[in-house]
């Protein structure tokens, strides 16, 4: 559904911009200072240790790096009965050592110091398997665009899906020149999948209508298995990044309403390849 909202917004904004003598300018605007609140970003992946970054919010126009919180005690608990205290390694970053992400385990992470005490929960589901990735020339690309830029390809990702359970997925894309060492992160928006909209036959074919790649591009795709709350949180992030489908709001953190950010337990399957060389 999210993608549909984007289409509608895109069309509306395009119509407004093209059809009406519009202009966009950078302006100065006064925004209030807010009391800093705790922000988090953390995860535990399959067979990996957990990490979490804890900071404070800053004023909206403040160009400084967000102030880190290095005096928290961070404790990770697993439904298997394990627990450990994550070690602070500076800059608000805390790293686990012993607990590795395990399929089917639920994880609870507590962050606390003299000022706060927050807990988040997330469950780690089994990864899907990417069966195949197909590229197809973007049929909506105009010839003149091809002449000016390059041939674009859309992707179809085919991955496994357990038909007996309700599953949620988050798909990430990266791309780069073939000989580049690092990928460019292309995930301004997250592609989110709820399997109830697909026939439950053990696999999902996902067409990426809004993520295309130029010819002869190195591509990396990861499909993350996530729980429903994680799906909702990232859906809300998309909503906010796209300008908001409703009145702007803070996405629902699993640390509660007083802290921002999210701690996620997830697994993924990753595919890497190169788009067809094709012709320019």
């Amino acid at each position: 559904m999210n993608t549909f909202n984007y289409i509608v917004k895109f069309i509306l904004i395009t119509l407004i911009v093209i059809g009406a003598y519009s202009c966009i300018e950078t302006i100065d605007i006064d925004l209030n200072s807010s009391n800093p609140v705790v922000t988090t970003e953390g995860q535990i992946e399959l067979d990996s240790v957990a990490w979490i970054s804890i900071n404070h919010t800053t004023d909206f126009f403040d160009p400084d790096i967000p102030p880190a919180i290095d005096d928290a005690i961070v404790t990770l608990y697993s439904s298997s009965g394990e627990n450990e205290i994550l070690q602070n390694v500076g800059s608000g970053y805390y790293l686990g050592n012993t607990i590795l992400g395990k399929i089917g385990d639920s994880y609870s992470i507590t962050i606390e110091n003299n000022d706060f005490n927050y807990t988040a929960n997330s469950k780690l589901f089994a990864p899907c398997e990417i069966i195949d990735v197909k590229f197809e020339k973007n049929k909506y690309q105009y010839e003149e665009d091809i002449e000016e830029m390059d041939t674009a390809y859309t992707t179809t990702i085919i991955f496994t899906d357990d038909p007996d359970t309700e599953n949620f997925y988050l798909v990430k894309y990266w791309g780069s020149e073939v000989d580049a060492e690092e990928y460019e992160d292309l995930n301004y928006y997250y592609t989110l999948v709820e399997d109830k909209y697909y026939v439950k036959d053990g696999k999902i074919e996902l067409d990426s209508w809004f993520q295309d790649f130029y010819r002869n591009t190195k591509v990396k795709i990861a499909v993350y298995s996530i729980d429903e709350d994680t799906y909702t949180y990232h859906y809300q992030l998309n909503d906010i990044n796209s300008g908001g489908g409703s009145t702007p709001y803070n996405p629902q953190s699993n640390f509660g309403t007083d802290a921002m950010g999210y701690f996620v337990a997830w697994s993924n399957d990753t595919w890497e390849g190169i788009t067809p060389i094709g012709t320019k």
Binding site: L15, I16, E25, N32, N55, P66, Y140, Y262
Partner: protein, 770 residues
Amino acid sequence: MQKKNIILLLTFLLVFSLHIFSQQKTTLSGRILDTETGEDLIGATIADVINNIGTATNTYGFYSLSLVKGKHTIAFSYIGYETITKEVDFNSNQKLNIRLSPSKRAIKEVVISAERKDKNITATQMSVEKLEMKQLDKIPVLMGEKDILKTIQLLPGISTVSEGGNGFSVRGGTIDQNLILLDEAPVYSPSHLLGFFSVFNADAIKNLSVYKGGIPANYGGRASSVVDITMKDGNNQKLSASGGIGLLSSRLTIEAPIIKDKMSFIISGRRSYADILFKASGYSEEDFVLYFYDLNAKINYKINDNNKIFVSGYFGKDDFGFDDIFGMSWGNATGTIRWNHLFNSRLFSNTSVLYSNYDYGFDFNGEMSMELGIEDISLKQDYTFFMNPQNTIKYGFSVIHHKFNPGELILENVDNSDILLEEKKSLESGLYLLNEHKLTQKFSANYGLRLSMFNQLGRGWANTYNNKNEVIDSIHYGNNEIMQSYYGLEPRISLNYILNEKSSFKGSYNLMNQYLHLLSNSTAGSPTDTWIPSSTNLKPQTVNQFALGYFRNFLDNSYEFSIESYYKDMQNMTDYKDGTDIMLNENIESYILQGHGRSYGAEFYIKKKYGKLTGWVSYTLGRTEIQIDGINDSQWYPNKIDKTHDVSVVGSYQITKRLSASAAFIYYTGNAVTFPSGKYVYDNKIIPYYTERNGYRMPAYHRLDLSLHFAARETNKFKSSWDFSLYNVYNRHNAYMIYFEESETVAGKTEAQRLSLFGIVPSFTWNFKF
């Protein structure tokens, strides 16, 4: 308790007025018509000049005046027309149809009302504005498109909610609280081109009245205002045509008698041609579609003096598409069949069968499509009993069958992905009785009661939700089975005390129930806004409004001054939980929060009606707030449409007989908006942090528009004129939207971006009539 007392008072007044109806009198009745076109004149006055009693024609041009037997001098008048005075000797009831001719001396002027000069002092009704179509020529407008909805937004108490938008707020009400009627049929989405132009073609419109308060009991269904628009009937004297060619669109209207004096028609159409210009300019080689069109048609047939039938309709559509890849369209259709019947010289009846439809559709390359909309079929019966010169009693009923399509999304190539929201149905009924009562020469009252009823009908599921928006219980109802009912008794009263011939003091109270709700995430409204009915989870909105006003005229009624204050208490106002996705959300009712609202303010208005220089200054000082559990810690917060100051200055100067210049200046406080007060980083993205809803203000809005109206030399058969206008003369970049993004030049810096829609926009239109 308060409501009960008001109802008791109204009942007493009604019984009292029936009691005093004891003298048998003769009745003078008939219609007042325009000589040239045969059109009924609405609001024309009929006065016994000796005895100082009178009445006015109703919406259908009919009047009835009870007089004691004997000789009377009766004056028939209408602003801009020659007054006719007749000596009549009454021994029995008489019918008298009068044709008035446009005044040769008529000064070309901006006039906001065509009624009697001191109507604002003498009329009991307050908080109402009547728009004369002639004045539209003199008001500068965007792209030269005459726009009745834009024009009323220059009046006090009626605020623009967004630049270019046709959604408007009346005394702090939301855009869905305005009942917009075209020949009695509701129009659910009154905008073309995403809100920049209204769907009403001014060439086809005869009359428009806006009720902001003291709303008479014959209207119901919306909480804040009524905009009652009447289409022209069609010239029943001769064939005539008029039209115009503008930058954005062209229009043509043809009207003619089919049987002279008995049957006539009017047909009026408009089409925009941005798409044609795009292609012609070579800007785009693709198949680019961007246009709107609309068609108004009406035919009327006078069967005899006691029976007249009208059939009218509107059909309009917006189409937007690009090279067969995507397309979307939306539009309204309305239909009205009316039968005016005169039982006798004092009892007038109007029976209407109405149809209204709004639909929106979207298609993406045949792979994804969406539809939503609303359809009404209704029956309305109104009676007017002209009991005596002191009392005019109106009563009637209406029944509306609503059918809602909250949305369906079909993805052709993705199995299981279709979203088909359940169609909803409801029945909305109203029963009313009101009296326009002249208690003394100085004191008059309009009072009435409306009983409104609403039934949500099956088939469908009535769900109960927990606070996580999950369904915890469901009851299924069969087809047309009543799922939920609401009733409301709505007292209405307006009082007028005439202090002297130049001033009066007025007060009013009305209670309005609104059973339909608009799902919208934009302030100004958009084509995808969806109407839904009240239900077990969604209660009707109720507004109690009190208003007081002082009215004063100067210099032989050349200047009108008024100050009105109002207070609205609003129940079950709606807002959304954080992150609500309003489109295609099958559990949307669980995401809607309802609470208390209040709106109060003062309106100052001074108008110069006659002379070379005409115009008005309007200033509204207002506030509208809501308090809803679950939003902003349950504290009062400004509604999105809240504007503290709203100023309009409109002037028109007749330079020569054929040339006039006009100007309009608009200023208003920016509406309430939600901006971030902090930020943080997640997944390498900057995420805004919000502390409160609607806690900031958009920058103040102001602009100046100018126009020139030049009438070419006219012949006996042909008239033409040119309108040149400049919108936003000093090219102010008013903020349509403010958003935030990372600076492209300074890493880590966030910047505010202002999107301005219209800089200076010149336009011209050529108008003709023959």
